[in-house]
């Protein structure tokens, strides 16, 4: 495959080799080999249905929750095989946070949305909780907006605020990796801009994998890009590399027409 590009600088955090995910008998993606460098932002792009979401869900084994879903091949996180049945899923998912396309705050108060997962992970001290709540809300720029109504229901926030709350909720657990599945596509342009800036500001502190349909956004925020495409009934990785390389000098014909807006 022509898409094996060595990553410069940072070493790989995730290493997928010949990774395949099937729902029952139908593969969502097949034979994907990709390394995701630590501390950088990797964008996954490609037309609808090419398996981007499925790929993200295999990175934190959320695919385990889908009945009949099986992942094969090899997938390593910092050298550790995370497809093995021995893996502590709770610890894995704490290390690898995820944000979904639609904001999905729990039907609790804003505060409880943040404290509940923390308490479940063993943080009991009230002062510590309060500090963490404030810090993670500041991280996502939400603190000043909502510090006076922490006990209001989270679902009363606007879509953009809810999405940032979800981000804060994930950040509060101090993950190493953030998986973002089209985090801006359900938001209005203004909130979308805010969330995008936020993602850029997290660069370096977290390893970020972001799925987006917005090529301009991928270009703005990402360091690395991976292009998925449906070929022969299953999603495949057709090209990956640095943003500059994929957008300026794509090796693959499909990639070229996709990034120039002729297909996809």
């Amino acid at each position: 495959m022509s898409s094996e590009h060595p990553t410069e600088g940072n070493e790989a955090l995730f290493e997928a080799e010949n990774l395949t995910l099937v729902y029952g008998d139908t593969p969502a993606f097949e034979g994907v080999s990709l390394s995701i460098p630590a501390g950088e932002i990797t964008a996954l792009v490609g037309p609808s249905g090419c398996g981007k979401t499925s790929f993200l869900m295999s990175l934190n084994r959320l695919s385990d929750l889908v009945p009949n879903c099986r992942v094969t091949g090899s997938l390593r996180l910092g050298g550790q095989d995370i497809l093995s049945s021995e893996v502590d899923l709770i610890a894995l998912r704490r290390r690898v946070g995820m944000i979904f396309q639609k904001p999905n705050a729990f039907p609790f108060s804003i505060r409880k949305n943040l404290t509940f997962p923390l308490q479940e992970h063993g943080v009991r001290d009230r002062d510590k909780l309060a500090t963490l709540v404030e810090a993670s809300l500041r991280d996502v720029g939400l603190w000043d907006e909502i510090k006076d109504r922490l006990d209001a229901p989270a679902l009363s926030l606007s879509g953009g605020q809810q999405q940032r709350l979800c981000l804060a909720r994930a950040l509060a657990l101090k993950p190493e990796v953030l998986l973002l599945d089209e985090p801006c596509s359900a938001l209005d342009p203004l909130s979308s801009g805010v969330v995008e800036d936020l993602i850029v500001s997290l660069r370096g502190r977290y390893t970020i994998v972001i799925v987006t349909h917005n090529l301009a956004q991928a270009r703005r925020v990402a360091d690395q890009v991976a292009v998925f495409w449906v070929q022969g009934g299953a999603g495949r990785l057709i090209e990956s590399g640095s943003v500059g390389q994929v957008f300026e000098d794509p090796q693959d014909e499909l990639t070229r027409s996709y990034v120039t807006g002729q297909r996809g």
């Binding site: 959320l62 998912r93 704490r94 946070g97 995820m98 979904f100 999905n104 039907p107 997962p117 909720r169």
Partner: protein
Amino acid sequence: MDSLARSQRGEKLAQVVMWSSAALVSAVFLWMLSDLVTNGLGRVSWEFLTSSPSDSGRAGGIGPIVVSTLLIVSVAMVVAIPIGVGTAVYLAEFTSTESLLGRLVRRSLDVLAGVPSIVFGLFGSAFFCKTLGLGFSILSGGLTLACMVLPILIRSVEVGFREIPDHYRLSAAALGLSRTSTLLHLLLPAAAPGLAVGLVLGIGRAAAETAALIFTSGYVDRTPESVLDSGRALSVHIFDLSMNVPGGTPNAYAAALVLLGLLLLINGAASGLAHRWLGRNIATL
């Protein structure tokens, strides 16, 4: 033949038949309701609800019978709720449609839902009264009813869980929450509508039941001292007054009105909750 005119005549006729059959059904319902109200309301009072029956129930009130009914229903629900909710959680959250245990449990609950109450009565009398040695008692009656209300309870609670959008489960898992705490803190509160509907419907079923109680909790119309005493349920009281006590009809009217009012309230609540929260009616749940 003018086929257009004929089909229009047919349409007219259909309209008349539809409206009159609907009117007939409503008339029967209103007839029954008004009959019970006009003949029963005069006797229903606080005094009636709290005093003891005398002269085999021809005079006096239904105090001890209300107490027994409440106890029987409470025993039934206390036993049925943990089993019902646990089973519903298992079926909704922990089994795929292919799992063997899930399929067997579902199938057997479908059959259980159809078992006639008199057969539950036979079972209760053989198992709880005789084999377990509980005799004619509120406990026997309550346990029999617990078996009886289990299917409807499980079905409503399961519907409640299935109505919860999947993203709750996904995002909880993505935060590294255990299934236990996801269940306790997130899913259980979110399934509250189904729980409420199931609870109310179960109470309604239990309170309405007669046949399963005649030979499990018995006829004794004194206030029970414990759940091991026999106690007469309100429905059994109505049956006894109207069939076995000449001159018992006036008080039977009053007792029937109380039971009817109670059940209309309970089922009205269940139906309101089910429509508002689950988007379905309680009979086809």
